[in-house]
């Protein structure tokens, strides 16, 4: 790939998604974009960039951004954050929100939906006491393509075998020919919305828990700091931000500090000015039994 084309691609990806591609990550471009070049009968990545530079290449540009930002995911990906949710964070909210009987959770960069669906399955199975609570789960992603897949909730046999215990498959999915679709009542619990994390995310309102895992690793330090500071302002004093295993707030965002005993979980730093969490007014969904 000639340097000017690499620079074009890197600048475009940063502008559209915040993704930082440095010269040592060129293999990522090759691995993810070569199939797109082949599909469009283009000789390679240089030819792909040529095609992207053409007027009215929006669809191709979107396809490239999707390919670079869609990451492998699985149900209940990583044990640690789901243990924290099940054993500490959700029970804590059940106790502290007993008066309001409402919880808001945001799955940021939800990809094809495995993370928010894991969450609703866990809430349904482990927290029957929430049956009559107002639970709002907002799931966002940059890519309209993967969001539509997430809304449909249809997964291949390979996908439902990644991280999902068979008992949960039987309980929460319908078989649709060769594939598996999560049951309608669970699909209705999630509000899927397109969102660029670099845009004004504060319009989403306040959340008790934000999951933003394995996304920040693709951003530069400045962008990480900006996104984390905005998320910090969206949390109540007892709110929690869950990051991926390779991510941290330290040295990047002073508004957040670790939650003792919970690896990868962060909350508003002591002394940080937070706003009382208002009652949410957006779509509210009951967890029906």
């Amino acid at each position: 790939m000639i340097p000017s084309n690499f620079e074009f691609m890197a600048a475009l990806l940063k502008e559209k998604s915040g993704l930082i591609i440095t010269a040592d990550k060129i293999y990522l471009l090759d691995a993810r974009l070569s199939p797109i070049a082949r599909k469009h009968n283009l000789a390679g990545l240089d030819a792909l960039v040529m095609a992207m530079r053409a007027p009215l290449a929006t669809a191709l540009v979107n396809e490239v951004v999707d390919a670079m930002t869609t990451n492998e995911t699985s149900f209940f990906r990583d044990k640690t954050p789901f243990d924290a949710l099940k054993n500490s964070l959700i029970p804590g909210l059940v106790a502290r929100r007993a008066a309001q009987r409402s919880i808001r959770i945001w799955s940021a960069a939800c990809s094809t939906g495995q993370e928010p669906y894991s969450l609703v399955m866990m809430l349904r199975d482990q927290f029957p006491a929430l049956k009559d609570w107002r639970i709002e789960i907002v799931a966002t992603d940059l890519s309209p393509t993967v969001l539509q897949r997430a809304r449909d909730g249809v997964f291949t046999p390979f996908e439902v075998q990644r991280g999902l215990p068979i008992q949960m498959l039987v309980r929460h999915f319908d078989q649709v020919e060769q594939n598996w679709q999560i049951k309608p009542d669970l699909r209705r619990m999630i509000d899927f919305r397109p969102l660029n994390l670099l845009s004004d995310i504060s319009a989403l309102g306040k959340f008790d828990i934000i999951l933003c895992r394995n996304v920040l690793i693709y951003f530069d330090q400045l962008t990480k700091g900006t996104v984390l500071s905005r998320m910090a302002r969206m949390l109540p004093a007892d709110g929690a931000l869950i990051l991926g295993g390779a991510e941290s707030v330290f040295g990047i965002c002073d508004a957040l500090g670790d939650v003792p005993g919970l690896r990868g979980v962060y909350g508003p730093a002591p002394g940080m000015k937070t706003v009382q969490r208002p009652e949410f007014q957006q779509q509210q969904v009951l967890i029906a039994s």
């Binding site: 699985s74 046999p157 390979f158 075998q161 990644r162 991280g163 215990p165 068979i166 008992q167 498959l169 039987v170 078989q175 060769q178």
Partner: protein, 143 residues
């Protein structure tokens, strides 16, 4: 008897996992030698010692000699099929109780439900790969 039970057969050398625990023992029960070899290669790289049986009856006999930690069990086999074998193994009340994972092309919901009711702990729908096998065994805390 047509069993080809081998208590410590090792296949391949792709031992990518770094592990320090004592190896666990898995009995692979499948009438396809190709599937047995494929599964054995994956399992040995996950620190398992593997044995093989080519049908349910051979598996039951093998489990009388050595109780495995894990049985990876196909459904459609001659002599005794996987569901009958599953029921027989659970009726034997083996100690310590082995994990039994069905591994089959019988991928419809009623079959899965039937196997779970008969005592299967997990269910792998063929075709499968290393990631699927590893995830399923992780759920059973075997890796």
């Amino acid at each position: 008897m047509t069993s080809i039970y081998k208590a410590d057969t090792m296949f391949g050398d792709d031992s990518e996992e770094t592990v320090s625990e004592a190896p666990k023992f898995c009995l692979i029960v499948d009438d396809s030698s190709t599937i047995r070899k494929f599964s054995a290669r994956l399992l040995t790289s996950m620190n398992f010692i593997v044995g093989e049986a080519e049908h349910g009856l051979a598996a039951v006999e093998a489990c009388r000699l050595v109780v495995p930690d894990l049985v990876l069990l196909d459904w459609n086999m001659p002599e005794m099929n996987g569901l009958e074998c599953l029921k027989a193994l659970r009726a034997m009340d083996l100690k310590p109780r082995p994990a039994i994972v069905m591994c089959t092309t019988e991928n419809v919901l009623p079959k899965i439900t039937e196997a779970l009711a008969a005592g299967a702990d997990e269910y792998i729908m063929k075709p499968f790969d290393r990631d699927v096998l590893r995830d399923k065994l992780a759920q059973l805390e075997l890796v």
